[in-house]
């Protein structure tokens, strides 16, 4: 009994310590953002790595999710004679929920793990120590561009995901099932609200981007300088990142009603 309690207590302490260290790390990144020099070049490189290279998987997944939604939605709605609302069903579920969340999960797996592995490898090969020796702050040069790029890239990827999804739904509903194309788009247009739905979706994506960026860079930065350390940093980025996204998704939805 006492050992159980002790292990629970130890886990709680470790969790809190980790949370505190992460908050410190986030503050360090924020500080690096406002201190000159501004590192544009590494930021653009990260936009390429995190954004452009994730594009294919995002667009493909978006289209397929949209098609599935179109098929499922159509089959359900047609029972109630409400197949006209397909556009609204596909659009609203993509914009409000699936777009930001699935994009963030995919980006965690694709870009977040790569980021953690990259920084972890730099730790293991003592490149960050090398930077410190040259009195270059590694948080400034390596971590911040990655975290910022992840934050900036997420709303863009999420928007692309949603647009691909809407067209996927259109493909199934209109081209395959023979629904009227105008009806699909009209029901989308009349039911989606700009402030409530679209802006909220962007806000969600932005928060998720910041979270994934923080988790990935933190895990990489604190990785043990061994190959096992790098691999466990990569794994835990995906696990912690995904769980964080889902938990925050609930709270954002509950608090802001998005």
């Amino acid at each position: 009994m006492a050992t159980l309690l002790r292990s629970i207590g130890a886990a709680a302490v470790r969790f809190t310590q980790e949370l505190g260290a992460m908050a410190f790390f986030a503050a360090e990144i924020l500080l690096a953002v406002v201190t000159p020099p501004v590192r544009i070049r590494p930021f653009l490189d990260e936009l390429y790595k995190l954004g452009v290279l994730s594009l294919l998987i995002i667009c493909l997944s978006g289209a397929v999710v949209g098609m599935v939604l179109g098929l499922q939605g159509y089959n359900t709605l047609v029972r109630f004679g409400a197949a006209e609302s397909l556009g609204a069903v596909v659009g609203l579920s993509l914009i409000r929920e699936l777009g930001p969340v699935l994009t963030a999960l995919l980006a965690t797996g694709r870009a977040g793990s790569a980021t953690a592995a990259e920084i972890g490898t730099m730790v293991a090969t003592e490149q960050l120590d090398g930077l410190r020796m040259m009195s270059v702050n590694p948080v400034h040069l390596v971590v911040t561009p990655k975290a910022l790029a992840m934050t900036a890239v997420m709303p863009l990827l999420s928007a692309l995901f949603i647009v691909c999804g809407i067209f996927g739904g259109y493909l199934v509903g209109v081209v395959l099932m023979g629904l009227d194309g105008g009806t699909y788009l009209t029901s989308l247009e009349t039911n989606v609200d700009f402030v409530d739905d679209v802006l909220g979706s962007l806000l969600k994506a932005l928060v998720f981007g910041a979270l994934v960026g923080l988790v990935a860079t933190y895990r990489g930065y604190t990785a043990a300088p061994t190959s096992a350390g790098v691999s466990s940093a990569t794994t835990s980025t995906v696990v912690v990142g995904s769980v964080t996204i889902l938990v925050f998704d609930y709270f954002i939805t509950a608090l802001w009603g998005v």
Partner: protein
Amino acid sequence: MPNTSRRDLVVGLFVLAGLAALAFLSIRVGGLSYKGPGGFRLYARFDEIGGLKPRAPVVIAGVKVGQVENISLGDDYRAVVEMDLDPGLRLPVDTSASILTAGILGDRYISLQIGGEEEYLRDGEEISFTESAVLLERLLGRFIHRANLQNGSTE
């Protein structure tokens, strides 16, 4: 990895594509479209709009000719619906407006029935003939009430 200038170009294209997707979402889907000054506005008063929402379509013979711009409560406690219609649309003064539903669970929309007068409605005028939304639950309530009355009279 491609050379730097080509990569920058790709990054630029990516950002542009993302922004285009955002613009599509806000303008085409979110209904944030810019309204030109030439929009033709008409008003209509209804006793019951039953779930009509702004941006609901206004149709003539099933063809969309505009959308609901704004809904407010008038002085006489009736709903005042402001419609934004295609400019150049000529509607006789005895045109009537009714609120209909697309399917049983579908969205409400406004349908205009064209009248036969020679004079035409001008920008900002009000459609005088309106037919309110049919509320399914009220209809059912009336039906049940009548059925009860009939049962009562036969007993």
